[in-house]
């Protein structure tokens, strides 16, 4: 039976996390010798057949403007109906904000076992075992889903997008749209920013920056790398930076290709949220800072001297 991938979009445009979910679902289907389809809800502003390049055969489009905002109950009901109509028995989500709102509701409606935060393709040689992060990034667990229907949501930036070319058949899907119980009274989107969990590069600052007025140099560095910005917990707690930038065990867990830590000591709770980054660079004036033990590259020195030079060197490299 086919794998169904929920391809979510922001205002009609697909994002890296959706391409990751599509690639993951398509690879899983290949591994199981079955086919993969996508389901899209709401108004799309892109050509849906192009999702076929990530390996899906068909795109079911529930083209109804009621789905242009995410109401977990309505979304879950629609996806559940799509699962029943298409006969899918494996449903893939991204473990992003929308996934966190909807995937578990869908799983409960289908009485499906759910694993969130998957970081690799399931091992299907004997059962269906999914590898996920646990202890906020300090370890992995291999979790077997034992129910007939299975729901998996994958961590952003954990599975690479695989584009093989090809085009998908787009097929409209009619479903019953429930009456919304949640009224949206305001939406506040920060445009143009790279979402932290999806960023390839993250530049993060700690208390070593001394105060919010010094973030300019960090932002310049981030800008030169097209990176997202993050911070340690005390920085967010002091109101130097917004809460949604707080990474760590009690904040956001990130896994970019490159994490640059400026003036952060590397407390265990901070490391838990960032230690799945592929490459970690630490700049700290204290050679004994624990972060150096978790780093790949480091400079012992004063960030106020080093960061502006680093930005210059990167601009030089990029020919700007």
């Amino acid at each position: 039976m086919p794998v169904l991938i929920f391809a979510d979009h922001a205002d009609g445009h697909f994002k890296k996390s959706s391409y990751e979910a599509l690639s993951y679902g398509a690879k899983l289907a290949e591994q199981l010798g079955t086919t993969s389809d996508a389901v899209v809800l709401g108004t799309a502003k892109e050509d849906l057949s192009s999702l076929g390049q990530y390996g899906v055969r068909k795109v079911y489009h529930i083209n109804n403007a009621s789905f242009d905002t995410v109401d977990a109950q309505l979304y879950a009901a629609a996806i559940t109906e799509a699962v029943q109509k298409t006969g899918a028995d494996i449903i893939i989500f991204s473990h992003n904000q929308t996934g966190r709102a909807v995937a578990s509701v869908v799983a409960a409606k289908l009485k499906a076992g759910i694993v969130t935060g998957a970081v690799a393709l399931p091992n299907t040689s004997n059962g269906f075992v999914v590898r996920k992060t646990v202890f906020s990034g300090k370890a992995f667990a291999n979790v077997e889903i034992t129910s007939p229907i299975k729901v998996v949501s994958i961590n952003p930036n954990s599975f690479s997008v695989q584009s093989t070319g090809g085009s998908a058949e787009v097929s409209p899907l009619e479903i019953t749209v429930g009456t919304p119980k949640v009224k949206i009274t305001a939406v506040n989107k920060v445009s143009g920013e790279v979402p932290l969990t999806e960023a390839d590069i993250v530049v993060s600052g700690g208390r070593g920056l001394k105060g919010p007025e010094n973030w300019g140099m960090l932002e310049d560095l981030a800008h030169s790398l097209h990176a997202a910005t993050a911070c340690s917990r005390p920085v967010a707690d002091s109101g130097w930076r917004p809460h949604h930038e707080h990474v760590g065990q009690t904040g956001i867990q990130v896994s970019p290709n490159l994490y640059i830590a400026l003036g952060i000591s590397g407390a265990i709770q901070h490391l838990a949220g960032v230690n799945r980054s592929k490459v970690i660079v630490v700049i700290n004036k204290d050679p004994e800072a624990p972060f150096f033990k978790a780093a790949d590259y480091g400079i012992v020195g004063d960030i106020f001297e080093i960061v502006p030079k680093l930005t210059e060197e990167i601009k030089k490299l990029k020919g700007e």
Binding site: D8, A10, V70, D71, A72, Q97, T98, R100, A101, V102, A103, S104, V105, A107, A108, G113, I114, R131, T133, V134, F135, K138, A139, A141, N142, V143, E144, I145, T146, K181, V182, K183, I184, T185, A186, V187, N188, K189, S191, L225, A236, H244, T250, Q253, L258, I268, A272, I280, V281, V282, F292, D296, Y297, G298, I299, V300, G301, E305, L310, I314
Partner: protein
């Protein structure tokens, strides 16, 4: 107004994470246990604040756990709340846990059910959504603000690339994160009062687990840091470009 807050017992954030029995079980020896920070700091403290505004509010705590969860429940009761319910079972399956709580929730007819955004051990972020589905009530995830006005909840929640304000009629299930409330420290009076608050133990309903943990792994250790001299920033850029190939 009747509020139910779901709490979970998790290892302290400084705990060394290790496994035993051929990496099939979490090594609990030497671990300090705490209330999952998202449950305590945000969901529960907000519920306490709502009860302070409207003292007629009944505030219950629920956890799925064996008797070794009792010290954590007493710690929570020291912060506030009227009564705790412990469902006498242990599981790491979100569906099992949520379905047990949904049973308790059904018989208690709560207006508002709060959870943390996720636990810091299994990081599932699933229990709230499953409870909502089983009770057929709306689910609002990742709340950063929560106000009650009569039987309407106004919730600010995190969405892709920003936030959104939702209005919803009770009952509702909400998962809470930073912003909803601020951490509180229990005082002596609270600790004394917690001793006499009721802690009801109920036996679990017959519910199947739909997942099981087969094994654990620790991430591979880092090879060691390559240090670059502070006066040679260009070398760091070269290494990141040519060796690590990340810029």
């Amino acid at each position: 107004m009747k509020i139910l807050v779901c709490i979970s017992k998790t290892p302290d954030t400084t705990s060394k994470i290790a496994f035993k029995n051929g990496n099939t079980q979490f090594e609990e020896a030497g671990v300090q246990w705490i209330i999952n920070p998202y449950d305590e700091w945000y969901a529960f403290v907000r519920a306490i604040e709502l009860k302070e505004k409207d003292p007629a509010t009944i505030l219950h705590l629920v956890t799925v756990g064996t008797p070794d969860a009792d010290p954590i429940i007493r710690k929570a009761l020291a912060l506030g709340g009227d009564e705790a319910i412990r469902i006498n079972a242990t599981s790491d399956d979100s569906y099992f846990i949520a379905a047990q709580i949904a049973e308790v929730a059904k018989s208690g007819s709560y207006d508002l059910i709060l959870t943390g955004k996720e636990t810091i051990d299994y990081n599932a972020s699933s229990v709230g959504g499953i409870i909502a589905a089983l009770l057929d009530t709306p689910f609002i995830s990742l709340a950063t603000k929560l106000e009650l006005n009569g039987t309407t909840a106004t919730v600010t929640r995190e969405i892709e690339g920003g936030e959104e304000v939702n209005e919803v009629s009770l009952p509702v299930v909400i998962s809470c994160q930073k912003g909803v409330a601020e951490q509180r420290i229990p005082n002596m009076r609270g600790i004394m009062a917690a001793r006499t608050k009721p802690l009801k133990v109920v036996e679990p309903a017959a519910i199947d687990s739909l997942t099981k943990i087969v094994s654990y792994e620790l991430p591979p250790a880092k090879a060691g840091v390559k240090l670059v001299a502070a006066d040679n920033v260009g070398e760091l850029v070269r290494l990141l470009h040519e060796e690590a190939r990340v810029i």
